[in-house]
Amino acid sequence: MKISMFHLMPYRDLPKDFEQKYHSVWVDPPYTELADSRKIGQYYNWTLDELIHAADKGIDGICVNEHHQNAYGFMPNPDLMGSILARATNGTDCAVVQMGSTLPTSNPPIRVAEEYGMIDCISGGRMVAGMPLGTSQDVNLCYGISPIEQRERYYEAHDLIIKAWTAKEIFAWNGKYFKLPMVNIWPRPIQQPHPPVWIPGSGSLSTWDFSARNDHCYCFLSYWGNNFGKRVMDGWWDFVAKGNHDPNPFRAGFLQLVAVSETDHSAEKEYYPHIRYFYDKCLHILPEYFPVPGNQDYKSLVNSVTKLNPQLFDLMGKIPTWKYKDFVDNQFVIAGSPATVRQQLMDAVKKLRVGNLMVLLHIGSMPHDLTLKNIELFCSEVLPHFRDVWEGEWENKWWPEGMRGPRTKITGNGAAHPAAAR
């Protein structure tokens, strides 16, 4: 299987009373009160260094994503980061997983086709094309798109990007939201007919249906543990079956928070404050902001309100009183010694039937050095035990074609970019 390191690029130094003093980490936390641009410059550089470090240590892929107006994770254009990562990891067979440019806010969407084309070219065909619908906070509140139109725009943008990559002839696009007289993308990706497409989701019926119909990899990005995750992934596998697709585990991606230390005890000591920071501060989002009414279509709304929300609200309500043990026991975070993490992660991967795992190895306020340590322990003590999972049985058709086989260039030369050598 393939395991990629995900990075959110959060603000690592919010005040202690942040969640008491401010009503949301997203949309309207006041920048001038809370943020320091010099610190942020340091965070971006640390983020890049951490991902490049993971690539050098043999991780299969490195992921960045797009969010706006928040302290939770703010790479407003993930392709700026992705292009640096592509350049810095040349010489490795680490994938550059863009999870990615938010389609409904990229106008016109051929901008995504172009930027992804650039990254695929710079990286020599190592890119995975994530195509997120975008959060309600980002798309509706920060970028002003009508909630009820978000999905229609998304579907149209997706179809336009795929056609822009694959059409041999120049074409006119007469869509509902986008009208372009002569589409003729320069550059096109190296990967043909186009890079593998991953669709991040949060349990919407419509996203399952869309991913299954288009034969894309569905990725559940969850912070709520793999019991809740199992419920969502089971829903996905139902749609895969209904769509008459095979149950190839590589159709499924899952994001898991992971923290590795020498012992279970030292893991608690090192990581608990940052886990607390992440759940208390980074996820402190005003409920009215996610999602905004209209963001879910009617069927998904009914499904969320009657099936998913009661369970999710119940879980979220308990978090403020939780201790480290609760986060770990409920597997919101898989943390501990290498042996503990190996065993729990393996169980989760099998239970969820996931072939493309993403691990969040930087959590909340984690400082740079601790992040590097987590990366090193994960890559040396955990990752090698997962390389053979699902391999031989199934083909990872959702991975860059040139890198689907066994890893050959496990570690990079670290010399491609000065940042990587630090």
Binding site: L141, P147, I148, P293
Partner: protein
Amino acid sequence: MATKQQQLSVWGDKVHPKVKVQGAGAPLAYLHGGYGPIETELVDELAKHFTVYAPEHPGLTSGDEDAYKALDDMWDLVLFYYDLFDKLELAAPAVVGHSFGGMVAAEIAATDPTRVSKLALISPLGLWRDDSPIKNYIVTPQADLPRLMFKDEHHPAQKRIILNPEDQPGFIRITWALGCTGKFMWPLPDKGLSKRMHRIAAPTLILWGKNDRLLPAVYAEEFKKRIPNAKVEMIDGGAHMMPLEEPARVAGAVAKFIKG
């Protein structure tokens, strides 16, 4: 006069709104606000004076949820209402709307002035002033909504607008109504009405609550200034949801104006 519910097929058979028809007398079309058809008592009161036609906004009718997709923008929505008037054989009814419904009513009256005999706008949305920004009630924290919308923060009708996860059908109904009406207002309730309002020919009543905390009274003056034949009536102590809190008083003012 009995109330009857009609389901129509409008807009090239793509939208199937339910229309409540109630009362007797001259025809009056009532357009509900952003939370859906919750102004029941106001419609009852108006029906004492008029034959009231109260349609549901596209997408709100049970079983017809995808209908919102057939209408792209305010221009489509206005034309949709002319189609609906035709189906109901309403040449030029009095048109009354509250909040979002008031915004739509003003657009209908401005686009084809011959289709509206008299116009009553109850705390309408539709204009924007940078010096008096309008709070986005769709994402206002639930705990702040009663104070923003009601004179009496404990008024029982507030459950018609508050999202309560314990009441799943209510949660779905309110969320969906905000989504479907929000389509025509997002991200700000200014879709260019100010450029078109000079076309409104119908005598117009602008009814405003003096204590409307969502839409400050400066907006009443803004509407009056731009509509050629308009008068403003301020309701003492009235809040944005005065159709729910004081239906008889609101209906009385509207009826007096339309009949006068």
